[in-house]
């Protein structure tokens, strides 16, 4: 399963994971390495520009986009632990740089190399059983950009179903937005809050003790709401689940 040494797989860690949830980045690295991926981390990476792009500042978003495209020009694969940021790199850069004499072609090239974390495990590495153990009763929140821009629907569930000790319960109205939407939740917090309340009610209805997602931004929002309400549900990125090993150790078959 180990990739050939000449294959360069790079991590685009995302701002939220870098600054707020670095342990998720560590889990991503650990899971990928356990499966033989030689991973590098271009250290000059910053933001993909999505907050600017979604606010209409297309020209400024392009400036940040060029940095990302340049930073990852030598990579064969770019793994992103977020459906939203992955969509920015893979889908929206192509539109941002469409017709650009210099970066148009480069954006196309990058698009072919970008994979969301769970998508990378299943589609590129061919792994469905990550050899993880994570005793919990959980439900899975599919983030909108992962579903509808990246079109990654089944991959996270395939991986989670194989996790030992993890009881996965279906989330009612699973494909309805949680109301985060980046700047949306800041501009219209009341509407965002209403959507969040519905999502939390659905999570609680499952009786799960753990809410899993591929996007920390949704989890910051839903988890922040549940924490304020004192709900006993923890939130985890899928990489943290797939990193899980039995405490006796050595259970990983990667």
């Amino acid at each position: 399963m180990t990739q050939p040494a000449e294959v360069h797989t790079s991590l685009f860690v995302t701002c939220i994971v870098d600054q707020l949830y670095p342990q998720v980045g560590v889990s991503v690295v650990n899971v990928l390495r356990r499966h033989g991926v030689k991973l590098d981390f271009p250290s000059d990476q910053t933001c993909c520009g999505q907050p600017l792009f979604n606010s209409g500042y297309t020209q400024l978003a392009r400036q940040l986009g060029k940095r990302v495209i340049d930073s990852f020009s030598l990579s064969d694969y770019v793994v992103v632990p977020s459906g939203s940021c992955a969509a920015m790199l893979k889908v929206f850069y192509r539109e941002l740089f469409s017709g650009d004499p210099d970066y148009g072609e480069k954006a196309e090239q990058l698009a072919g190399k970008v994979f969301e974390f769970s998508e990378f495990l299943v589609k590129v590495l061919g792994i469905e059983d990550a050899g993880a153990c994570f005793p919990a009763t959980a439900t899975y929140h599919s983030s909108c950009h992962l579903l509808r821009e990246m079109e990654v629907r089944q991959e996270p569930l395939l991986l989670l179903e194989k996790v030992e000790g993890l009881e996965l319960r279906p989330l009612p109205q699973a494909e309805t937005c949680c109301g985060f939407g980046g700047t949306f939740s800041v501009k219209y917090p009341h509407i965002s809050e209403g959507m969040m309340e519905d999502k939390i009610a659905n999570v609680l209805a499952t009786g799960a003790d753990t809410l899993i997602s591929c996007d920390m931004s949704c989890l910051m929002h839903i988890g922040g709401g549940m924490s304020r309400q004192g709900q006993p549900v923890r939130v985890r990125h899928i990489a943290e689940i797939l990193e899980g090993q039995e405490e006796t150790g050595g259970a990983g078959n990667g």
Partner: protein, 481 residues
């Protein structure tokens, strides 16, 4: 033109969220439409559905690329069938055309079947001002006319009202006893409207489609009121947007499959009416005159705009409203103009002015559910993003609504994110600053942070991590590779 209240979006959406009756109405009706839509698609298979969507989109692209040609064909066919076609540049002209017909023919009573374009024009107010009694005959429209409100949904105009509210309204306005029986309420409306149908001089309808090759106006309804409006009075005026034209009956068959299924989950509506000209000599009934008023009112601007033209493909099924989690929270009125929901957030700003409706393109989490359900595959999120771009960066003063503070913040953010060293330094400072205000990895909830105070009012905000991922990578992870 209808009153524009799009500037009130924040206040109106806030009030809507507090409205218990509205929330109940939205929950009940919206969910039902979505389930019915999915059942109807599954019945024909997703493969067939996808083929129909592709075909419908192809027809719309083709027709709008050759709109002049098809409008001319339509004009010729309607005229040949004995009808008259009027082109209206804007709402004012459209209202003037209808008023002139009504006045010169001595019209006293008009019955109307549902038409969003007439709402756009505020036609009822215009006709009432010249002494014509106008009666809405679609049950939902009748309810909101009695309540002196506007539609809150494209196909279910009174969706925002619970049956209890409707019962109280009928009790108050029509003097009938209170009831919780919906059939009884429908019976009351039918009885009241029957005499209007029989005494009306003028019937006004919208059009779901206009078939160019035959000159036919097509309306689909479930109540039969459309058929009475278009056949009983001596004059029929069809009034609609010029984008409703499609080339042929063959094309119509695709749209008749898509529209009812997308709107209400029906295979077909109870009535599909095709009106071609006025009564012919051999017909037993039908109007003596048939007029078709084709309204532009900003649509040519959309047509000429390659980034927004797709909005004209809309067949007003309302599926994007039913699936939209934002619409599901705030309902239709908060959007502040005739067309609500995701498609309305594109159509309204382009028809009433982008700066006038600057909140609407932002009032979306960009979840993409609207695009997924749209029977014509209209890329609504992309157009919302495009409108946001114009609001932020357009060189035109009529579009750009960004403030200096916003622009500076956006530029500052870009600079910071272009300078990793500065970003690191800023992170170190922020970590020091947050220290007194945080515990257990959360910002203290009593702290009011600039910009996000309302966010943190309902959610705990995580603190910046002690060591960022990039530091952990440099300290520990890199050497392991």
């Amino acid at each position: 033109m209808a009153d524009v209240k799009t500037r009130d979006f924040i206040a109106a959406s806030g009030a809507a969220m507090e409205d218990v009756n509205l929330r109940r109405a939205l929950r009940q009706v919206g969910g039902g439409f979505n389930e019915a839509r999915l059942d109807a698609i599954e019945e024909v298979s997703w493969e067939a559905w996808e083929e129909w969507r592709e075909e419908a989109r192809r027809i719309k692209i083709h027709t709008l690329d050759h709109l002049d040609h098809y409008l001319e064909m339509l004009y010729e066919q309607v005229t040949k069938a004995g009808g008259q076609v009027h082109f209206a540049r804007d709402a004012e002209q459209a209202n003037a055309i209808v008023s002139e017909i009504a006045q010169s023919r001595g019209v006293k009573i008009a019955t109307k079947s549902k038409s969003m374009v007439s709402e756009e024009l505020d036609l009822n107010r215009t006709l009432e001002a010249i002494g014509v009694d106008v009666y809405e005959t679609d049950l939902g429209e009748y309810i909101i006319q009695l309540a002196e409100e506007t539609p809150s949904h494209l196909v279910a105009p009174a969706l925002h009202k619970t049956k209890e509210q409707v019962s109280e309204l009928f009790h108050e306005k029509l003097g009938v006893p209170l009831t919780d029986d919906i059939e009884e309420m429908a019976r009351v409306a039918r009885e009241t409207l029957r005499s209007k149908f029989l005494s009306a001089d003028l019937g006004i309808s919208g059009a779901n489609f206009l078939v160019a090759e035959t000159g036919s106006l097509v309306i689909i309804t479930n109540e039969g009121n459309g058929r009475l409006c278009t056949s009983a009075p001596r004059i029929h005026i069809g009034i609609t947007g010029m984008e409703k034209v499609i080339p042929s009956l063959q094309d119509l068959s695709i749209f008749l499959r898509l529209l009812p299924r997308s709107a209400t989950g029906q295979r077909l509506t109870s009535y599909v009416s095709m009106v071609t000209g006025p009564r012919r000599s051999e017909d037993e009934d039908g109007p003596e005159e048939f007029h078709l008023v084709l309204v532009d009112n900003g649509r040519s601007r959309l047509l000429a705009d390659p980034d927004l033209r797709e909005a004209l493909y809309c067949i007003r099924c309302g599926a994007c409203l039913n699936i939209c989690p934002v619409y599901g929270k705030i309902g239709g009125h908060a959007y502040g103009w005739v067309y609500p929901g995701p498609i309305g957030a594109i159509v309204s700003p382009t028809l009433v002015g982008l700066k006038e409706a600057k909140d609407l393109p932002h009032a979306s989490s960009l979840c993409g559910a609207c695009r997924e359900v749209c029977p014509i595959k209209i890329n609504i999120p992309r157009m919302l993003l495009h409108l946001r771009h114009r609001l932020a960066e357009s060189p035109s003063d009529t579009e750009n609504s960004s403030t200096l503070t916003e622009r500076q913040a956006a530029r500052g953010y870009t600079w910071l994110m272009s300078n990793p060293a500065a970003l690191s330094a800023a992170g170190s400072v922020a970590k020091l600053v947050q220290k007194p205000f945080s515990s257990e990895g959360k910002i203290d909830k009593r702290v009011s942070l600039p910009l996000v105070s309302r966010w943190t009012a309902a959610r705990d905000m995580p603190t910046l991590a002690g060591r960022s991922f990039r530091q952990i990578w440099a300290d520990e992870l890199e050497s392991e590779s």
